[in-house]
Assembly symmetry: C2
DNA sequence: ATCGCAAGTGTGTGCGCACACACTTGCGAT
DNA sequence: ATCGCAAGTGTGTGCGCACACACTTGCGAT
């Protein structure tokens, strides 16, 4: 046993002790041990609640710990502990060039960085147009072991009860895509979907007469009312219209992902019945569908606003068919989603809960500067 | 010397080597050294460009480094290197309850966290209403040694040339308060001031007739045209008015910080001459001055919008004198400003360049939930 | 009286890297 | 032939912590 407090070790002991009333430069476990008159292992047991410590020592060590306000060096802790962490990323499947491909790029970059912190990223994918596939994935996740999760919140109604399970399991999670403020999430990495709706409304309406009618293009989901993000955007959109004396009509039109002929028929119908339509919007990233239709019919002068800078939308914007795109840097969401969880698990660094990303507005004039760099 | 590649060390060597074509779990300096047939010190010299390595070994080691795509373990590096970093925070002086006090709280929290990474925070303060004091501070900073800087950009015209000096010295810096995109900043932690101006405009105008006149309350600066933030907000504000067919007039009124009598005289004058004024705005955090005046004159029905949730504004909002506050979490700016620089210096982790914070809107109804937590 | 065992306790090692320091080699100057 | 010195090179230690492992102590069972 050490003879505690009053020993003055030679050499570097002197440098660190700083015997005056000064706060010591930094208090380490050895310092605690010396002060409490025990070994570092005993201090370690107390710090980690490993038990096997006598009541007397426990009390003494805790007292010292509290007195010096001990904060472990997280850098050293990470290096020493071989602890492996697994982060589950729950996101949609995608094809190249789709919105979620950019998200995946951010996840991949984070994955590369996180490897050095003993963090592994595991992806779990579902069909973004099929709520049942998401439900099935959640069932899988119940049997999986992981230390944190990044959850795309497309199916809000199914995410919410699942987060309750995660809460019960003590697993932290961060949201991407859209926020669900009612949940106990560690963070949300994304834009304010509601405000992004208002932005689209402003961009769309600024060139139109107040009485003009609008079309809302939608992709139907199997058994669901659309993604939470789209719903929130639509809420913000309609809210803006209300607040700005919009006096026209909004017509929904259900489109299909890869069925140009079908979409053309539906739109022909719509425009035949409502020739007054002067603007159109989509709340997901598929405004290229509407754009493709309109590009082939230049006589129809319809103002078009959509979301997300994916290749097909970018082209339509550059061609002048799309008036504006509202965007949200999916690659940053992927990167930050993983990294914020990583920082929390590894270093105990709590991220800002709602680190809202900027709502980017892309026009023909500035689209060329918009590149998908995390930096 | 080791006999390079083909040795099969006993014990843990086997675990790590992963002799198949698999990517090795993680490549360390010892692995590089073994592969190149040199010692770790020689590898270290190459990695850090310390010289004293023969051309042959240099080439060989570099080849290995490249082949295995070596990435140093930043955690271990930080622990091993006793390197001390100093972050200079250049910010205004403040009294308790002022806007910058909240900012300081965030800096203090970051400081506590950063200490364990061998990072020290040093504050340099200037008078936010006196450009000359800022200039004098910059002169001081030229002789100071630090590894990174957090710069409040109030005096944009003086900040810009200074950042050129920092660039020349190779010192990274992050902006807070308002962004100066033309500069080579590592990051900007704050809101979009321009958009925050538009938000205030919308909040102010939504209850007014298009023809109503407005007052802009201003605190005069010594020898300067107001902070960059305020100017940007005003630009965004005026831009919004233009885009929304505002047909009234804007009257500037110069107020003083602690001179109630003077302010009352000036405002009495103004309202006497322009009884049509129905709205008022300030672009800094002193809307409580206008609010105090209006609270004492309830007959004047003037809609008032201001910035920042400081105590005096909070009270006036709760009392219904202020219609809305636009806010920007200064404590988060302080925290992130320091931490992003810290992460960059210590771990080489590049922050998002423009991590725009959300523009918060506070009304009587939601102000009570708005607390200054970093979390 | 002896043994086994639970409850405590301490020593030693390694995480991957940075860096101080000691050492070797070979060549020019004497 | 010998020395000094520059150019290379390697060994060893420590950063603060986690954790495996060995060890001590005392008490109940025999």
């Amino acid at each position: 046993m050490y003879d505690s407090e009053n020993d003055s070790e030679p050499g570097r002991g002197m440098e660190r002790e700083n015997l005056g009333s000064e706060a010591p430069a930094t208090v380490r476990i050895v310092d605690i041990a010396r002060m409490a008159g025990v070994s570092t292992a005993t201090v370690d047991r107390v710090i980690h609640n490993r038990g096997k410590v006598s009541a007397a020592n426990l009390a003494r060590i805790n007292a010292v710990l509290q007195r010096v306000d001990y904060r472990p060096n997280l850098i050293a802790r990470t290096l020493a502990s071989g602890r492996q962490y697994v982060i589950a990323v729950v996101m949609p499947r995608f094809a190249a060039g789709e919105y979620w491909a950019d998200f995946e790029a951010g996840v991949a970059q984070a994955e590369a960085e996180a490897r050095r912190y003993n963090v592994t990223v595991r992806r779990y994918r579902f069909d973004q147009y099929d709520g049942a596939s998401f439900e099935a994935l959640l069932a899988t996740l119940r049997d999986e072991s992981f230390d944190g999760a990044v959850l795309a919140t497309l199916f809000a109604g199914r995410v919410i009860p699942f987060t309750a399970e995660l809460d019960a399991r003590g697993i932290p999670y961060v949201f991407v895509d859209s926020d669900l403020p009612a949940c106990n999430r560690l963070a949300y990495c994304g834009t304010s979907s509601f405000d992004a709706g208002a932005v689209a409304a402003r961009l769309l309406c600024e060139g139109l007469e107040p009485g003009a009618d609008l079309v809302v293009g939608k992709i139907l989901h199997r058994g669901d009312g659309g993604s939470n993000q789209c719903r929130e955007r639509e809420r913000g959109f309609r809210d803006y219209l209300e607040r700005h004396d919009f006096r026209g009509e909004l017509y929904d039109v259900a489109l299909r992902l890869d069925d140009e002929a079908y979409n053309a028929r539906r739109l022909d119908e719509l425009f035949a019945v409502h020739p007054s339509v002067a603007g159109a919007v989509t709340f997901n990233s598929t405004c290229y569908i509407l754009a493709g239709y309109l590009a082939a019919r230049p006589a129809r002068r319809v103002r078009l606003v959509g979301y997300d800078v994916i290749d097909r939308n970018r082209r339509m914007l550059a061609d002048g068919v799309v008036t504006a795109l509202v965007a949200q840097r999916p690659e940053v969401q992927g990167y930050r989603g993983v990294m914020s969880l990583c920082g929390w698990l590894v270093e105990g660094r709590r991220p800002g809960t709602v680190g809202n990303l900027p709502i980017d507005i892309l026009l023909k004039e500035n689209i060329s500067y918009y590149t998908n760099n995390i930096i």
